[in-house]
């Protein structure tokens, strides 16, 4: 199965290990992973802020880069969701709307792809740690991927899981919201980190680097003894501990 990896700009620039884990995990599950080199950004930052026209340039570029792929897989729920919105963004455009639809129809978030397409629930991972999980809003409510991450985590050997209080509540990232409405964002991410600390977990896991950068940044600022990891890094962990 050929998979075109949509790594996301955040992973590309700030979290190479997430991309690496994603590639290795997919290969372990029998996929052939390509990385279309032209990819940059799904356009979310501008789109969500209302700059739809400006975001369209980024989107067209991504459509061109990915339209020949068989499957498009991304380790980011919000970025995968953005691809799913492309047909709506280009609605009425006789050239771009059909191309957008082609791309949207074959786009998956990573855990969604593993469970729904590869039909795998146990990736053979092992992780010795006490973890809690943040359900990213765009991934769960908007993309509709609610159970795949937990299904996969539940089969990770040695993993201890504690549920996060108010787990459905937004972490306060929201793209440009985190810098435009910084007062409110701070309160939201602070409450999220306090809830994480309450669980006593050593690790906070998530499936969207936007959320994770936000939470990690706050956790580090307040000195919380919690390591923030992407689910790909856990699922790719087989025998040795994550370094």
């Amino acid at each position: 199965m050929k998979v075109a990896l949509f790594a996301t700009c955040l992973v590309d620039m700030f979290r190479t290990n997430v991309g690496k884990s994603t590639v290795e995990l997919l290969e372990h599950l029998g996929c052939e992973v390509e990385f279309p080199k032209g990819q940059i950004c799904c356009g979310q930052p501008a789109y969500n802020a209302g700059f739809v026209k400006d975001s369209k340039e980024a989107m067209k570029h991504m459509i061109e880069v990915f339209e020949e792929a068989e499957y498009i897989v991304s380790p980011s729920g919000s970025c995968a969701y953005m691809f799913k919105k492309y047909p709506e963004v280009f609605q009425g455009d006789p050239i771009w709307e059909p191309r957008a639809k082609k791309v949207a129809d074959k786009t998956y978030e990573l855990t969604q792809f593993i469970v729904d397409v590869l039909r795998v629930e146990d990736v053979g991972a092992a992780f010795d740690g006490n973890v809690t999980y943040h359900m990213s809003c765009h991934m769960t409510r908007l993309l509709g991927v609610k159970s795949a991450p937990m299904t996969l985590l539940s089969n990770v050997r040695g993993l201890k899981y504690t549920e996060l209080p108010n787990k459905d509540t937004c972490c306060g990232f929201g793209g440009t919201f985190s810098v435009k409405m910084e007062q409110i964002s701070e309160q939201m991410v602070d409450e999220k980190v306090q809830h994480i600390i309450e669980t006593g977990a050593q690790y906070l896991i998530g499936a969207d680097e936007g959320c994770l950068m936000n939470i990690r940044g706050r956790a580090e600022r307040v000195g919380a003894k919690v390591e923030v990891l992407h689910i790909a890094e856990i699922l790719n962990n087989r025998m040795a501990e994550v370094k």
């Binding site: 991309g19 356009g43 700059f51 340039e57 409510r141 108010n166 509540t169 937004c170 919201f177």
Partner: protein, 475 residues
Amino acid sequence: MPMKVGSEPFKNRVDEGIQNTFMRGAVSGAQDRLEVKRLQAVEELGDWETWRLLGEQIRQHVLENLDYYLTQLSDNVAKLGGHVYFASTAEEAREYIAGVAKQKNAKKIVKSKSMVTEEIDLNHHLQADGLEVVETDLGEYILQLDNDLPSHIVAPALHRNKEQVQESFHSHHGYEGSSRPEELTKHARKMLRNDYLTADIGITGCNFAVAETGSVCIVTNEGNADLSTSLPKTQITVMGMERLVPTFEELEVLVNMLTRSAVGQKLPSYVTVLSGPRGEGDADGPEEFHLVIVDNGRSEILGTEFQPILQCIRCAACANVCPVYRHVGGHSYGSIYSGPVGAVLSPLLGGYDEYKELPFASTLCGACTDVCPVKIPLHELLHKHRQVIVEKEGRAPISERFLMSIFGMGSSSSGLYNMGSKIASKALKPIIKDSHISKGVGPLKNWMEAREFPAPNKERFRDWFENRAKGGNES
């Protein structure tokens, strides 16, 4: 008071809200409890998604035929002997009501809770005419004593604690009792009982009007709307023009969804359906009934991409799950309509000059859309506002417009991106410390007020992938 609440700029209001520890505790506690109750109520009912689809369909049908149903409603109210006044503006509505009060030589008015009467600033104008206007909903009664403003659509005095209420009753009424809510409520009951019996006019809002029968349905737990309408000689009901249903059958569906979504109740203590003035031979009930139907900007929303917001049945479930509302409280919205519905509606009714920040005070997390009983796509409407504000109205700050067009360029050209991201690590070196950015500038500065920001990876993912493909490091 009018729709606008307070006069401070947005950032100040937000700051004030964040600093108000009691209010935040009250709001987050309320949110947690009300959401649990709502979930219990909808799970118990079962098949909630089907109910939501039905609720949406009913509301959409009514909006698409609003001209017909309002005509039918008014015809039927008139047939029952009630009077109908169509008010295009807040001013027209106020003047009509003031006119009725004058005609009746009224001195005292009792009111049950009505958001639309606050929107049109009715109380102040009636008071300026020398009328005594008494709010009978306990929360509004408490607020009225201190000229305070509501902070939640359903529980308006959420931001006040019982000691504050005790103090208020003491200073205004000489109340000597404790701060126990039962005692405070008994006191309010005693004070208001006399008001009901001596008022000349009862003014109510309208949860839903029923077009087929010319009825208005009012929903309370306290019974205050019932006392306000059975005892005074004149009743005036004020309704937002979109608040109606075709028949009793749709009424029961929406009342049911309203109360489950708002507070997790199957039904509130009182669902009262009033049709016209009192019947011939009745000894209580109003002798005269007036229905004031208010537009005040709603018709401008019809036929636009924002039309879905008119589906709203004012349950405030959206506010009860909103993480932003949780931290800043209702007053920060600067409008009597707070929470997600307020963030969509206030700019439409009150204009972008006053309310342009509200649509941006959201992460578009979608929690509101998820709980809306009539499936209003709230987070999408917030996004639409952003698009209008930024693109049509051109209101984004120049720096942001500039950054976004750079973004557009940078993310559509692989060459530009490659260059930019490659040199990022080197260019930022002076401000990198321990693999974090140590000094923030511009938007980064805002980020760093509350969090650490990582330095870019030394090796970009794409370079790792390429190296590996070439047979390089397998690190």
